[in-house]
C-alpha cells in the first residue's frame, strides 16, 4: 500500500462530487503526454501492499482490505478498509492522499469503528536508472492528527515521516545468472516523529494527570519479488499460460522500532512478514498477502490482506493519467534510428 499507511481528505469526504468535478475540469485543460506507472528500463515494479513502490505515479488503491488480530492483550479483531489516490503534479513530483476505515472488536466488548487519521505523502522522483533497473524516491509522509475517529483512539497530534524509497531489479546481472535476473527488491526507510513530544491524560476517578511520551520511530520495510512477466519477456519464455505469466510472487516485511523519546513507554520493535502474490493486468493489479506478526506485540495468529490497485495512467491516458503541470519528455527515436 502506498505511503506506507493510510488514506483521504476531510473536505473531500464532505464534498466529494465538487472535488471530483473540479479535478476533472482542471485536468481537461492541461494537455500533456501520459506516461508510466513504475517502469524502470525493462522492469515493472508493481505497487506492493505494504512497501510503497519507488515511483511517482497516477494510480489508485481501491480498496485495500485487511483482517488481523491486534497486539493488544487480549487481542482484538481488526478489519481495515483503506483507500488511496496518487497523482503526479509534475513529471517527477506527486502527492498521495489516503485514509483507512477500521472496525475493532475486542473480545467480550462492543466493536468500535471509524476513520483513522488522514495521511498524505509528498514524493519526488530522485533517480531512474534504466540500465540498472534502479529507482530512487524521496518523500514526506504526514499523518494529520485529529482527523480520525476518537472512538478508535487516533492520535490528536500529527506525525511527520521523511522517507526514502528504492527499487532495484536484477536484470543487469550477466546472462549466466539465468532466472535470478527476474528477481527485484524494493524498500523504504523513514524516520517518524510526532509534532507533540508527550500527551497528558487525566484519570477520571482521581483527577491525577500523567504524561506519556510519544516516541520517534524508525520505520522500514521491504519486498523481495520474482517477476514472471519479466522472466517471460527478458529471460526465458517457458510457454506458460497467460495467467501464470502475469504473476509476481512476493514476500514483504515491515517493521517499526522506537529510537527516541520512548522512555517508559514499554514499546519495542513490531512488524509483520507478508508472503503473497500479485497478479498484474493491463489496467489494474490484484494483490493478496498473509499477515504474519513477528512477535506478540505485533499481533496474534495469521491475518490476510488483499488489494485492488488501478493504473489511472492506462485507463485515463489523456486526463487523470498524466501530470497536472508541465510536460513529459517528448519521445525520442529509439537507439537514434
Amino acid at each position: 500500500m502506498p505511503m506506507g499507511h493510510r488514506p483521504r481528505a476531510a473536505d473531500s469526504r464532505r464534498h466529494p462530487f465538487a472535488v471530483f468535478v473540479l479535478l476533472a475540469l482542471a485536468l481537461t485543460f492541461f494537455p500533456d503526454r501520459a506516461r508510466a506507472h513504475c517502469f524502470v528500463g525493462g522492469r515493472f515494479l508493481p505497487a506492493t501492499l505494504n512497501t510503497d513502490d519507488p515511483c511517482v505515479a497516477d494510480e489508485m488503491s481501491l480498496p485495500t482490505v485487511s483482517r488481523f488480530k491486534t497486539g493488544d492483550d487480549p487481542s482484538a479483531k481488526e478489519t481495515d478498509l483503506s483507500f488511496e489516490f496518487s497523482k503526479r503534479i509534475t513529471e517527477n513530483f506527486g502527492i498521495s492522499v489516503g485514509d483507512t476505515w477500521s472496525r475493532v472488536s475486542p473480545p467480550g466488548m462492543p466493536s468500535v469503528h471509524g476513520w483513522q487519521n488522514l495521511e498524505t505523502a509528498f514524493q519526488y522522483q530522485v533517480l531512474k536508472d534504466a540500465g540498472h533497473e534502479f529507482a530512487l524516491l524521496a518523500g514526506l509522509v504526514v499523518e494529520w492528527g485529529g482527523t480520525g475517529s476518537q472512538s478508535l483512539g487516533t492520535d490528536r497530534f500529527s506525525t511527520l515521516t521523511p522517507t526514502v524509497y528504492f527499487g532495484k531489479g536484477f536484470g543487469d546481472l550477466p546472462d549466466a545468472a539465468g532466472w535470478l535476473r527476474a528477481f527485484a527488491v524494493t524498500g523504504e526507510v523513514g524516520y517518524s516523529f510526532p509534532t507533540v513530544r508527550s500527551t497528558a491524560t487525566v484519570d477520571p476517578m482521581s483527577g491525577d494527570v500523567s504524561f506519556q511520551n510519544n516516541p520517534n520511530f524508525l520505520v522500514y520495510s521491504g519486498s523481495l519479488q520474482f517477476s514472471l512477466p519479466y522472466l517471460k519477456s527478458n529471460v526465458v519464455d517457458l510457454g506458460l499460460p497467460d495467467f501464470v505469466n502475469r504473476l509476481i510472487p512476493i514476500v514483504e516485511a515491515q517493521f517499526q522500532t522506537p529510537v527516541a523519546n520512548n522512555f517508559g513507554t514499554g514499546i519495542g520493535t513490531t512488524g509483520t512478514v507478508n508472503p503473497g502474490v500479485i497478479w498484474v493486468g493491463d489496467y489494474f493489479q490484484i494483490g493478496v498477502e498473509a499477515i504474519i506478526p513477528i512477535n506478540r506485540a505485533s499481533g496474534t495468529g495469521i491475518g490476510a490482506m488483499a488489494q485492488l490497485h488501478i493504473y489511472l495512467d492506462d485507463i485515463f491516458p489523456t486526463t487523470v493519467g498524466r501530470p497536472l503541470l508541465g510536460a513529459n519528455a517528448a519521445p525520442s527515436k529509439p537507439f537514434g534510428n
Binding site: 506516461r35 525493462g42 489496467y283 492506462d314 485515463f316 486526463t319
Partner: protein, 116 residues
C-alpha cells in the same frame, strides 16, 4: 459511502477515454531465451498494444557486441520485425524500445541462441 461510489462512477464516465496500456512484449520468434537449430532471417516481436512506428525500434547484437540486424525495423500494428544478417552459431541479444499509440514508452531485451 453510497454517494461516494455514485460520484466515483460519474467521474469514471466523465473521464472515460480509450484505454490503452503499456506495450509489453507478448512473444517473440525466435522465442525469448530459446535455442534454434536454423538461423532466423528476421526477428519477430508481438506486443500487447499497437505501436507508434516512428518511435519504436530494435537492434540485434552478437556476443561480441557487433550489430547483426539489417537496419530499421518494420512495424505493423502490434508486430515489429527486424531482418538480420546470416547468423553463425552463437548467442544473440535483441534490444527493443517501443512507444505505444497512447505514448507509453517501454523497453527490454532478450537473448536467443543459434546452434545445435
Amino acid at each position: 459511502m453510497r454517494t461516494l461510489i455514485a460520484n466515483f462512477a460519474l467521474l469514471v464516465t466523465l473521464l472515460a477515454t480509450p484505454a490503452r496500456a503499456h506495450a509489453l512484449l507478448d512473444h517473440a520468434e525466435p522465442r525469448v531465451g530459446s535455442t534454434v537449430a536454423a538461423a532466423p532471417r528476421e526477428i519477430s516481436m508481438t506486443f500487447t498494444q499497437q505501436l507508434e512506428p516512428a518511435f519504436s525500434g530494435a537492434q540485434v547484437f552478437d556476443a561480441s557486441g557487433a550489430r547483426v540486424d539489417q537496419g530499421r525495423a518494420q512495424i505493423a500494428g502490434s508486430v515489429m520485425r527486424i531482418a538480420v544478417k546470416a547468423l553463425p552459431p552463437g548467442t544473440y541479444r535483441v534490444r527493443w524500445k517501443v512507444l505505444s499509440v497512447d505514448t507509453h514508452t517501454t523497453e527490454g531485451s532478450f537473448t536467443f541462441r543459434v546452434g545445435p
